[in-house]
Amino acid sequence: MDDIVIFGILRGALFALAAFGFSLVLGVVGIVNFAHGVLVVFGGLLTHYLVAQVGLPYLIGLALAAAATGLLAGAMQRAFIAKTFRLHPLMVLVQTFGIAIVITELGIRFWGTEERLLRVDTGLPPVIEIGGKFIPTFDVLVFLVGLASAGALFAILNYTQFGRAVRACRDNRDSAQLCSIDIGRTFEKTMVVAGVWAGLAGGLFISLSPMAPYMHFHWTVDAFLVVILGGLGSMVGALLGGLFYGVLNFAAYYHLPTLAPAVIFAVLIALLLIRPQGLFGFGAAVRK
């Protein structure tokens, strides 16, 4: 039981990292981005490519891959979503799903379908002991990097001009426009930020567990679940939701491996019906 909680929380930080961008885009642009999982996988595989094929150091490869993922997300927003985000939510949902298929297929042309894993040598002892429990050092490092980048995102959203514009657009799009905020540009930047953090999650995750292009939809659903658990509109909610989802995920797959998806989805339906504002949501429920 302790192990499930510990590993769930360690892995949960990555789920949270992947969900930040999803939550941000859902809150600000008002769309469900079904291509979000593609961004995560793209970041992961690009990191793998830059480190294993090009031979860059891991941290530089990670940063470059995250930046490239951000650009991809920005391009997606400018070319496609900017034209459709005012339509019925279903249309954008299907559109981004189409984008996800296209990018995945292109990714398969380039990277192939096999699963890839990146081994990173840190030079540290493989496990550390905390209170009689052995925990892999690298998982802890990834967890800490994840927390640090989450902190950076909070700082950006809370203390910069861009963050204020983003929050204004999230709270009231029309009023933000009246205050001379260019919502088109703000949405684009929001997508770039979402992409960067998704790419970061992918780049960190591929050093722990294998990744392949076909997994994109899994990541989208995970991000969606985290956002629903944590509640929309608050980044703290997404972080807590991610950690909670990590534990739930580990527990379900550990105790009921064959029924795990059904258990997770049953919890989800129950939550949607009983607490649509999320377990940790503090505001009103958003039912778009």
Binding site: H88, M91, I99, R287
Partner: protein
């Protein structure tokens, strides 16, 4: 061309009886196909009809009412499994199996009522979750899993020949479309349009929205149940993987959107065009098949959210404007009418051309 499209438009705006008659005539014409096509094409056409009929029934809840159900293949799968149990376990005739499929699907749709408190994404996700949960249950429960304890599906012998099945599916397609035509022109149909446009306003003027949403959902669940029940013997072997597949739902949604969401004609046209493209892509560029499919979806939503149907009506207007003298309203360009449709779609989400 212009005259033909004008006739189509008149049909669209005309009485539902004429539309139903046109659909029935189309169905009679389709029945002649097996006379000069080989088995491959007949089987392929059955798959296309099933897809179109499923999309048409999804369209009632997803397009007209604006509640995108992502778990609609649950009714198709339940219908198929009901048919398998009725026909194999209890050895009853196929007609009874089809009735049972429809009844089970309609009854099961009522279990979804609590989910109607949600909208949009949340509704989509809840229905998807329900589909996955039901799929797991059917897969695990021995009563539904197969005749013997180690079975993972049902072998359902078909009592009909291929040509007879073909005629049956043409009949199912026509009944589905005709029932949708009449439903949309009934009091219920108008209520659904109203609650799609503004649910709060609709309920404030005395439309019982909860009741109409339940009716719409049940109506869109019955036909998938019946079609699933007819489809099980046609496939001869069914399993949860093939019958409850999420891609069946996705196909319903893609066909509806591609053709024109919220319209009667949309799913029909979308099903035909997508199937033709599908065939060409499979035959010529197998490796790029999914890529082409994805690209088409992205492009049509980005540049023509009303689907093929809205493009057709725009074309009709352009052709008939240039042929005739300018209308008294002044030179309204096709571009402007296109934008009009887009604005309508923005606020109503797809009922721009729904009549």
């Amino acid at each position: 061309m212009g005259r033909f499209l004008k006739a189509c438009r008149d049909l669209r705006d005309g009485s539902p009886h004429r539309q139903a008659l046109a659909m029935a005539l189309f169905g009679v014409a389709l029945c002649a196909v097996p006379l000069f096509a080989n088995d491959y094409w007949v089987r392929l056409l059955v798959f296309i009809f099933v897809n179109i009929a499923l999309a048409s029934s999804w369209n009632v809840i997803g397009g007209v009412t604006g509640y995108p159900s992502f778990g609609h293949s649950v009714f198709f799968g339940l219908g198929a499994y009901t048919a398998a149990i009725v026909m194999v376990r209890y050895e009853l005739p196929m007609a009874m199996a089809m009735v049972a499929g429809g009844v089970v699907a309609a009854a099961f749709s009522l279990l979804f009522l609590p989910v109607f408190r949600q909208k949009g994404f949340y509704f989509a996700l809840s229905t998807l979750a329900a589909l996955l949960a039901v799929e797991t249950l059917v897969h695990k429960w021995e009563f539904t899993r197969g005749f013997k304890s180690w079975d993972m599906g049902w072998t359902v012998p078909s009592p009909l020949s291929l040509d007879a099945s073909y005629v049956l599916f043409v009949g199912l397609l026509c009944s589905t479309v005709i029932s949708v035509i009449y439903l949309l022109r009934s009091k219920t149909g108008f209520a659904l349009h109203a609650l799609h446009k503004d649910e709060v306003l609709a309920s404030s003027i005395g439309i019982p929205t909860a009741r109409y949403k339940a009716i719409a959902f049940a109506a869109s669940a019955v036909w998938p149940g019946v079609i699933g029940a007819a489809f099980a013997p046609f496939m001869t072997y069914i399993s949860t993987e093939s019958m409850f597949d999420v891609t069946i739902t996705l196909n319903m949604i893609l066909i509806s959107i591609f053709g024109g969401i919220g319209t009667v004609l949309g799913p029909i046209l979308g099903g035909i065009v997508l199937s033709v493209i599908d065939q060409i892509a499979w035959g010529n560029f197998l490796e790029y098949h999914r890529l082409i499919y994805g690209l088409l979806i992205v492009l049509i939503i980005t540049y023509k959210p009303g689907g093929i149907v809205s493009w057709l009506w725009d074309l009709e207007q352009r052709l008939n404007r240039t042929a005739e003298t300018p209308t008294p309203r002044g030179p309204v360009t096709a571009n402007e009418s296109g934008r009009h449709a887009t604005i309508a779609l923005r606020t109503e989400g797809g009922t721009g051309h729904a009549r």
